[in-house]
Structures are given as C-alpha cells and as structure tokens.
C-alpha cells in the first residue's frame, strides 16, 4: 500500500493533481445544484406571489 501511495517517488505531483481535480469536480456539482435551487426557489416565490395577488 505504501509503495502504491508513494507512486515511485512522484507522490507530491500525482496526488495533488487528483485532489485538485476532485475538488474542482465537487465544487462544480455544488455550484450547479445551488444555482438550480436558487432559480427554483425564486420561481416558487414568484408563483406564490402571483397566486396571492389573484
């Protein structure tokens, strides 16, 4: 296991590459979901406002 983690001595370059990628992919999922949730929440608020006006 330690041999694999060491990546032949290249671990300071290999693992940060994977961590950066994982971070970016996870952040994009969060941002995309937050953006859609905000749009839905705004649409719901408008729909409720229209209903109460009617």
């Amino acid at each position: 296991m330690m041999h694999w983690l060491n990546m032949g001595g290249y671990w300071p370059f290999v693992w940060p590459s994977y961590l950066i990628t994982l971070f970016a992919l996870a952040l994009n999922i969060y941002l995309a979901r937050r953006s859609l949730a905000a749009a839905k929440s705004e649409a719901r608020r408008r729909a409720q406002a229209q209903r109460s006006e009617a």
Partner: protein, 247 residues
C-alpha cells in the same frame, strides 16, 4: 431531414423536462466510468517505461484538457445557434458552459503544471500548447465578464455569442500547436500516425476517464442550463407547473 426534434428541444418547457430526466443518467454513468477508469489508471495500468508512475497524472490531465476545448466548442456552437435562430434555450446552454469550461481549463493547467515539474524541470513554460490553453482560460473569463457587464439579457446573449464565435480560432491552435511549433509538450496523446500511441492497458482507462468527464460535463451543463432557463422564463406560465406549484 426531419428537424422537429431540434425545434422541440428549443422549447423551454420541453428542454427543462427532458434535461431533468437526462441528468441522473449522465451522472450515474459518469460515476461508473470514473470508478472503472480510476481503478484501471491508478492500480492496473503498468508504469511508463520513461516517466515511471509519474505519468498517471495523464488520467486526469488529458480528460480535463480535452473537456476544456470540448466545452468551448459546445459553448460556441450553442451561441451560434442562439444568434442565428434566436433560440433562447441555446443562449442558456452557451451561458451555462462557460463556468464549467473555465474550471476544466484551470484543472488542465494546474495538473499539467504539476506534471511538468518532474518531467521538464519547471512548473511553467511559455510553450505554444500551454500558452494557447491559458488564452482559452482568458476567453472563458472574458465571456463571463462580458455577460456579467451587460444587464439586458438579450444584448448580453448577442455580445457574448460574438466573442465565443471569435474565440473558436483558438481551438485548432491548441490542438495543432504541438505540430506547428517546437514544443516541450508531448505530441498527440491518443493517436500518432493514425495508430494508438499507448498500449490498451493505459489507453482503456484513459478513454474511460474521458467518457466519465464528458458525461459529467453533460450532467453539470444540463443542471446549470435548467436553472438558466428558469431565470429567463420567470414570467412564463409553464414555470409553476414545472416546479410543482399550482398557478
């Protein structure tokens, strides 16, 4: 040729509904392909005869780099469709591509830099491939900045679409930079002289990771585009039904 599907996909309620159904499929398939690609790339593929274990950065660097240009191509195509056919959904798709594409570009630059240090002895070099990829990042940032600077959505769509289309010139420069100029960067990763440039034990995990990144991009793009469509169509009657609110 029957173009009905094209025009149906351009209908905001239809797009919103279909995109919502497609997202889970893309997301699950991306996850499965990523797990298979990571196991193949990190555990099963043999070390490279020159770069040893250090080459394993390829399994995230190349997919990120490919997706950085693919996202731009999708963004420019959608912007062109929006500009020509005045299709609001196409502009929403184009606007949704930019942030994801910029992140892929940043990941490609960062992982390339980490790969360059042990192989070239430097984190950065003003090499044609690296420089053109950096220009791509600036194009994405410029596109987002331009959209953010214009309050009127229709004007922002038109102006940013023109910028996106002009920036397409950078895509062949990125792709062929390793052929046209002397470059520190290695040549084409997948094909060399029409043949695969690596053995199947390395190529298969790489293709799986590229598939995973592509499906991930599709899922994220559709989630963002659904939100963008909701914002643009905020006064439309179909919205209440689509989000589960009775009008």
């Amino acid at each position: 040729m029957n173009w009905t599907w094209f025009h149906r996909f351009g209908s905001p309620p239809h797009f919103f509904r279909i995109a919502g159904k497609m997202v889970p499929w893309f997301a699950w398939l991306a996850g499965i392909a990523a797990v298979a690609g990571l196991v193949g790339g990190l555990a099963l593929a043999p070390p490279d005869y020159q770069q040893g274990e250090g080459y394993r950065i390829i399994f995230v660097h190349v997919p990120a780099a490919v997706l950085s240009t693919m996202a731009y191509a999708v963004m420019a195509s959608a912007a062109g469709v929006g500009l020509i056919w005045r299709m609001n959904v196409a502009h929403a798709v184009a606007a949704s591509c930019a942030a994801v594409g910029a992140w892929f570009t940043l990941v490609a630059l960062a992982t390339g830099s980490l790969w360059g240090r042990p192989m070239w002895g430097t984190y950065w070099e003003w090499d044609p491939r690296l420089t053109s990829e950096l220009v791509l990042l600036f194009l994405y940032l410029g596109y987002m900045g331009l959209r953010g600077a214009i309050d009127d959505t229709a004007r922002a769509d038109r102006a940013s679409a023109v910028l996106a289309l002009v920036g397409v010139i950078n895509l062949p420069i990125i792709h062929y930079s390793v052929d046209w100029w002397n470059s520190l960067h290695q040549g084409h990763t997948l094909l060399k002289f029409g043949k695969a440039s690596m053995p199947p034990s390395m190529l298969v995990p790489l293709l799986l990771m590229m598939l995973a990144f592509t499906l991930y991009f599709a899922a994220i793009l559709l989630v963002r585009a659904r939100g963008e469509v909701l914002r643009r169509e905020r006064n439309a009657r179909w919205i209440s039904e689509a989000i589960g609110e009775r009008p």
